[in-house]
């Protein structure tokens, strides 16, 4: 299904496949995103892939220099259409999909909402952990904070709406649930997701060469660890 093109501003072209979360639709977004990135088009500042959309942010100064008087948005739309024609199924990147395992401590001190969430769904906490660790998640997109990955699709049996009142402070590494999404807070921040555990891995570290741990398209599984293991891993980093 081809996307709709919408000029969000003079310099941002938005491709939209609709307003829904759907794995096969996201594959098209991800495929086109990777195909465009691989072209290393000059004049493009950023691509922002999301669940069912892809934004292309343009450097208008570049278009002034190389295409004076022309519409940057029209030229960019042409580039996107060319890419879609060349790779009608979306081109997977040459690099294989990254598969990452993320340790999570689900003990009550680490996942303050786990027992309430289990109670709401008439499950035991260990059932919630089993269901959360059984799925291979896709990183659909990153946003909200540097390194915050929106992952899905969460098992229906533990899908839970956001808290009615967001917390003022959620600790970095906290693993949360919102609807049929799961995510990890990369930084201490306010947040309304149901917190079921915490990982000792740093999803964001400004001092690293690659500050952000996850990328769009990554495949993630979680595995449970004890608080002792949590401390051990945290100290080894």
């Amino acid at each position: 299904m081809p996307p709709d093109f919408f000029p969000c501003s003079e310099s941002v072209l938005l491709l939209s496949w609709g307003n829904l979360i759907d794995p096969s639709l996201h594959e098209q977004v991800q495929g086109l995103y990777e195909a465009l990135r691989a072209r290393a088009l000059p004049g493009v500042l950023d691509y922002i892939p999301a669940y069912s959309s892809l934004a292309v942010a343009l450097d208008l100064g570049y278009f002034d220099r190389h295409f004076p008087g022309a519409s940057a948005l029209k030229i960019a739309q042409g580039w996107v259409e060319e890419t879609m024609q060349a790779f009608p199924e979306g081109r997977r990147s040459d690099a294989p999909v990254r598969r990452l395992r993320i340790p999570v401590c689900y003990e009550p001190a680490f996942g303050p909402d786990l027992s309430a969430l289990a109670g709401q769904r008439a499950l035991r906490p260990e059932d919630v952990i089993a269901l959360h660790t059984a799925t291979v998640y896709k990183v659909y997109m990153l946003g909200f904070l540097p390194g915050f990955a929106y992952m899905g699709v969460l098992d229906e049996r533990i899908a839970t709406p956001r808290l009615p009142r967001p917390r003022r402070q959620v600790l970095a590494g906290s693993v949360g649930i919102a609807g049929r999404q799961t995510g990890i807070y990369p930084l201490d921040a306010p947040g309304g997701w149901n917190l079921i555990g915490r990982t000792p891995l740093r999803m964001f570290d400004a001092a690293r060469a690659e500050p952000v741990y996850l990328r769009p398209g990554d495949e993630i599984t979680f595995y449970p660890i004890s608080s002792a293991e949590f401390d051990q891993i945290a100290q080894s980093l």
Binding site: F6, P7, C8, S9, E10, S11, V12, L14, S16, N19, L20, I21, Y33, L45, D46, Y47, I48, P49, A50, Y51, S52, S53, A55, A57, D59, L60, G61, D64, S71, A72, L73, M141, L142, G143, F144, L145, P146, G147, F148, A149, Y150, P186, L187, A189, F204, A206, P211, V212, R215, P216
Partner: protein, 329 residues
């Protein structure tokens, strides 16, 4: 040698024109809220337009130059005094080591930019010197300035200053900021959520920037706009986007906004008018008016062409004053 912060201001951060290429990882742009003022301030003193500058709010900091330097101020007018002498905005100033720069009053605008020849020499992070307050990275140690910070400057190798002096060229800002308080916008993807009456209200109401506005967003005070509810899956957002919150209020995103969001996207403030919004004083009424994408693109293009002409004119003046544009692009 350096710029010494004697006293910090409300929010003083190092900014350039923003961080690009990492938005797919959730890393926001940041950058000067009024990018036009930052660019003009740089151009006046022969810097590349995107050199790192100091963005100041009021109360502004007290600063001391620990070396001879050439600087300019732009954006908001905070009644600057250099060793007691009034210093206007939009003009280059030669300053001798030991001089003190303070700001007495906020006369106009919300953000004042200090550009210093050579640019502020903080370490770039992900290709930009902009401070990301949320990531605690970039700019000066990833944070706003504190008293006693010392920001490195480029040595003034090709000139020395005996006495502070305002150089004889300045920018006529009537050409750059629209004088009438009208902010132009493009219809956003969910503009049609507003019925005809609400669309009319958007154009006829007096809008005001809320005092709670900050570098992330500017809340627009005005009548609530009724609209059909709509749940959106998250998608990219950018500075200038006007979102409608569930209660009906409008929120215009600013330089420090997130990379993605999920509220209905009613409108997009045109690039040429983002500087005016960044300088809008809380309580001052303004209007919103819808224009076509072609008109918006033409306005932005005219602004960029104007900056290029200013750059050529300033290069000529700098040469006449025997000051080499050290970082000419």
């Amino acid at each position: 040698m350096s710029l010494w912060v004697l006293k910090s201001g409300l929010l003083d951060t190092v900014q350039d024109l923003g961080r690009f290429g990492y938005a797919h990882l959730g890393v926001h742009r940041a950058g000067a809220a009024d990018g036009l003022a930052a660019q003009i301030s740089n151009i006046l003193i022969g810097n590349p337009p995107g050199a790192a500058v100091l963005e100041m709010h009021f109360p502004a900091p007290a600063l001391q130059f620990e070396q001879d330097a050439l600087f300019s101020l732009g954006g908001g007018d905070f009644d600057a005094r250099l060793d007691g002498t009034a210093i206007p905005c939009w003009t280059p100033v030669m300053v001798a080591a030991g001089s003190k720069l303070v700001f007495n009053n906020r006369r106009r605008g919300m953000r004042c930019y200090l550009a210093i020849r050579g640019g502020l020499q903080t370490a770039p992070w992900l290709g930009s010197r902009s401070t990301s307050l949320v990531a605690g990275a970039g700019g000066w140690q990833g944070r706003a300035l504190h008293a006693d910070d010392r920001l490195s400057l480029v040595a003034a190798a090709d000139f020395s200053v005996q006495k502070n002096a305002v150089l004889p060229w300045l920018v006529n800002m009537r050409d750059a900021y629209p004088s009438a308080p009208v902010i132009r916008y493009l219809a956003g993807p969910e503009y049609d959520l507003l019925d005809a009456k609400a669309q009319q209200l958007l154009e006829s109401a007096d809008w005001r920037a809320s005092p709670q506005s900050n570098r992330m967003a500017c809340a627009l005070q005005g009548p609530p706009l009724p609209a059909a509810p709509l749940e959106l899956v998250s998608a990219a957002v950018q500075p200038g986007l006007i979102q409608r919150l569930p209660g009906g209020e409008l929120l215009a995103l600013m330089a420090d906004c997130q990379t993605t969001g999920g509220y209905p996207r009613i409108a997009q403030i045109v690039e040429a008018d983002l500087p005016a919004l960044a300088q809008m004083q809380p309580g001052a009424p303004f209007r919103l008016t819808c224009i076509s994408l072609e008109a918006a693109s033409a306005a932005a293009q005219a602004q960029r062409a104007w900056l290029r002409r200013l750059q050529r004119a300033c290069a000529y003046q700098l040469a006449a004053a025997k000051i080499t544009p050290i970082f000419a692009e």
